[in-house]
Amino acid sequence: MAIKPEMIGQSLPPTTFEVDRGKIREFASAIGDENPIYQEIGAAREAGYADLPIPLTFPTTFGFWGKKAKEAPAGDFGFPLSRVLHGEEEYTYLAPVYPGDTLTGVRKLLQVDEKQGKSGKMEIATVETIYTNQNGQEVLRARSVVVIR
């Protein structure tokens, strides 16, 4: 197994991410979403948001923050990145996230399943990350499934 069995159920040390307007603007532009609520505070307020809201998939940036080119969140548990494919991603949004928030994420390896694929055995790992804001409020849960071929 590429994944050490003792890693299952383990959590990694917490990581932090500061949400800022520039990153939100850049991210919305990169996915081609030109909704002005991601660019102008006036437009965001008019739409009922306190500040620029985060695009739905913006939380993907939290895990990559501060990492080098050949690092990725999937590598944090020692998964061999060159053999890792992204299988599933699911976000549960619990509370709004705005610029100025500092989020702390704790990543936990929930389970590992072995499956027989076309080209041999594959391992399927499910990782959950729970993000809490500076007030101790849980704001987001992210569940990722990665396939190690």
Binding site: K23, E26, F27, S29, A30, I31, G32, D33, E34, N35, P36, I37, A47, G48, Y49, P53, I54, P55, L56, T57, T60, T61, G63, F64, W65, K67, K68, A69, K70, A72, L81, S82, L85, H86, G87, E88, E89, E90, Y91, T92, Y93, P96, R143
Partner: protein
């Protein structure tokens, strides 16, 4: 540069009572995925895996060339659903399963249907032409009443 070929950037507003099961969400057709967009997305997301941005690496690992970030495609679907709902704030849960790879030149068109409208949640099944098939999106109805 606009990537949305069919609609303006202004979000539509939707009301819970108007959401009927089976209703189709207005489609979103993106411009063809190209190298520039993958580089831009790499910078914005922080995912600098060279599989997406270095054309030679995709060839070397046997994929026949660079592939798009799966999360970019999920981003397209997020764009679709948040435009439909008048912003991202109404969404409670959003999940996808990645099924195939997107390459340079692929046009990803996104659409979806309302699959369920209970008194508590509204569920969607979002689809795109090439990948990924979503598992669905759930939102709280009280949060989609932008009145």
């Amino acid at each position: 540069m606009t990537l949305n070929l069919e609609r303006g950037p202004v979000a539509a507003k939707v009301f819970y009572q108007d959401i009927e099961e089976g209703t189709e969400i207005p489609p979103l057709v993106n411009k063809p995925v190209n190298h520039t967009q993958l580089v831009k997305y790499a910078g914005a997301s922080g995912d600098f895996n060279p599989l997406h941005t270095d054309p030679e690496v995709g060839v070397k690992v046997g994929l026949g060339g660079p592939i798009a970030h799966g999360m970019l495609i999920m981003g397209f679907l997020g764009h679709l659903i948040s435009d439909y709902l008048g912003g991202p704030g109404a969404l409670r849960k959003f999940g996808v399963r990645f099924q195939s790879m997107t390459r340079h030149g692929d046009v990803i068109s996104c659409t979806g249907n309302i699959t369920k409208n209970t008194s508590k949640t509204v569920s969607f099944l979002l689809k795109e032409r090439l990948l990924p098939k979503t598992k669905g999106a759930i939102l709280k109805p009280r949060e989609i009443l932008p009145q």
